[in-house]
Symmetry: C2
Subunit: 398 residues, 2 copies
């Protein structure tokens, strides 16, 4: 067992791949890895209570500094006793710095070495953030794991633009590290470098030299083809310290999680399982099923008869189909429970397989049975979603 001051204990590695099992010590409990973090950007995993997330079995959730800064405001969360108390969650929390949101949601950005001036996507109000402020905000929120501020280029930006963003991300990471005071919180740095192998390697090496408690890979799964995502992960991971946790931000689907684990990733987060649930797409071990399909109108069995989640134990596929047909709010909730249970179950199975030394056979069986979403469909859905996020409450100016 390899242990280190970041609270990460590497327990087992797979002989046939980079997959590894470990444990993350936090002030709010032990987090077994590989782990998936449900996304609760606004201090709530959409439709669910903390009690339900516990029942499903998640040891840690993700929230977002950008969103909480705009609503209800960092000072409100702090006054309410911090984010754990505010959202009624006594297990671990990771807050993203909000870098990605500033660069994908906010308007009229002016980036300088000092920081970013932007307008809120909600009401157009102007704000100015710096690496130091982002650490201060995250210390006030009080999550167990916090993130450096990064600049996220678009997936089709030029080499020069991505390089500039990477260097700025590095300088911001150093400033975050310098202003980081609450050592009960683990500060993770975020590797950038766009879709350029050389920059990815440079970013990983540079940040690794600074000695953070953990490392994230940012700026992926933002519209690029899947093989590019995987190539960038493969460039990055070998340059990250073996004894520190590796966090692949914004990933993903069941098939992407398995491929990430194969390549040595320990931590994942993504809104995908909860977002597609609200659109009626439910995970099974054979792939996604759309509950709105008329085949489910009279199906007495659960959507996934072998599944032990509350939804599948309690309701027929016909009932779930009916709730979606009527746009009943309970539909979104029951589908969310199912998809998060599936992902939680997937993570448990992955971890057990790594510990038992049977991960490569688990991976092969998974790949053979699970029909991934068609790549063209996936990219067009992703594009549609990224565009829809830009139709914010406040009209964009450019």
């Amino acid at each position: 067992m390899t242990s280190n001051p970041s609270g990460f204990h590497l327990m087992q590695t797979c002989p046939d791949s980079e997959a590894r099992a470990g444990e993350l010590q936090t002030s709010h409990g032990v987090v077994p890895t590989p782990v998936f973090l449900p996304v609760g950007s606004q201090g709530t995993v959409k439709t669910l209570t903390p009690a339900e997330l516990k029942d499903i079995g998640f040891p840690v959730v993700l929230s977002n500094t950008y969103h909480l800064y705009l609503r209800p405001g960092i000072d409100v969360v702090e006054k309410m006793g911090g984010l754990h108390k505010f959202m009624g969650w006594d297990r671990a929390i990771l807050t993203d710095s909000g870098g990605y949101q500033v660069f994908s949601l906010a308007r009229l950005r002016q980036v300088s070495d000092e920081g970013v001036v932007f307008r809120s996507h909600i009401d157009g109000s102007q704000h100015h953030i710096t690496p130091e402020l982002i650490i201060q905000f995250q210390e006030a929120l009080g999550a167990d794991i916090i993130m450096t501020l990064d600049e996220c280029p678009a997936c089709d930006d030029s080499f020069e633009k991505v390089q500039r963003a990477m260097h700025r991300t590095h300088r911001w990471a150093e400033r975050c590290q310098k202003s980081w005071k609450r050592r009960d919180q683990a500060l993770y740095a975020i590797v950038q470098g766009g879709m350029f192998p050389q920059l990815r390697r440079q970013s990983a090496e540079y940040l690794a030299s600074l000695g953070f408690p953990g490392y994230a890979i940012g700026g992926l799964s933002i519209g690029e083809p899947k093989e590019v995502t995987i190539a960038m992960i493969e460039e990055t991971v070998p340059l990250l310290p073996e004894n520190k946790p590796r966090y692949l931000m914004g990933v993903g689907s069941p098939e992407d999680i398995v491929e990430g684990v194969v390549r040595g990733i320990d931590i994942f987060d993504s809104a995908l399982p909860t977002r597609v649930a609200r659109n009626g797409a439910l995970f099974t071990w054979q792939g996604r099923r759309n509950i709105s399909n008329s085949a489910y109108t009279r199906m007495e069995q659960a959507i996934d008869p072998g599944c032990e989640c509350y939804t599948c134990r309690t309701f027929s596929a016909a009932y779930l189909h009916h709730l979606f047909d009527c746009n009943e709010l309970l539909a979104y909730r029951l589908a969310t429970i199912h998809n998060l249970f599936f992902i939680s179950d997937l993570m448990h199975k992955i971890r057990s397989a790594i510990q038992d030394g049977t991960f490569s056979s688990f991976r092969d069986t998974f790949r053979a049975n699970y029909q991934p979403t068609d790549e063209q469909v996936r990219l067009s859905q992703k594009k549609k979603w990224l565009e829809s996020r830009n139709q914010s409450e406040w009209p964009p100016v450019n």
Copy 2:
């Protein structure tokens, strides 16, 4: 204790009012009265699971034949094993016949003595229902209490129109009674007569003479002033048999429920507590509070600090305010839990007070503390809601 074949046992009456406590025997458990039925028109009490409704303590819920007939279809529910199994609810269910919905939601109605031809408010498809069909549908759904088909006039219809509708309602009630086969289901008749005391008396007397297991008062709380509602109840109740349950349909607010109990009502249902919850209006013993009010932005206490519901035990008013501010789906759910818990608690307190002989003092304390919604605001909200229901998915033709 007075008992009778309808399964109703009258246990206690209040010496100072018409209030009474009883028990209703059903195939799915005993229902203590006075009782409030949460509304699950489409086979779901909006946002909640059956487990949550049980936790709150409801012994019976309401569903709706018109809605279930259109979606998913009576045959689907029947094939899935009936409504209890379909919605995962093993306690009692009452299905409304859908008369009110045909006369308030459906389009292009043609009413004859035979029945009603109407177009669906969802897709404009044409349907023909008769009293016999409505009983057949409700027998297939399998609720514990079922209702006769009634014709519901508008609250400003002329005496002649209301009188015609009343006579038709009576003939339909007789046909429902005649075609009623499943005697494990209790069939209740619905008193009509609009806002005309003479017609209300005539309707109550006539239907009472037919000997139903229970009696409902329909066609009230549809936009008329509160004193008219109360006057109509007072005309009707004395003419209904003492040993049969009395059900005031579509009522209501906490203040209306208390006034109904005072006048001898045993059963209530209304979408109001769940509907206003989704608009952020939360019940307290002092009256409704709107969680969107900025006063709650930083309130560490629960919205009702004395309340023992899951929402108040777990979350600050500030958190609930934040969820509403962000339009998070969890907001609607937490508010629904609170309002239904309040109503359930109200019914328990009412019943205990009747049994202890202290109901008149309970009523006085309630009236002294609970600030009802301003009558003008109430009527305008009701009007707005009734109009919004007419903006259906299928464009109205007339």
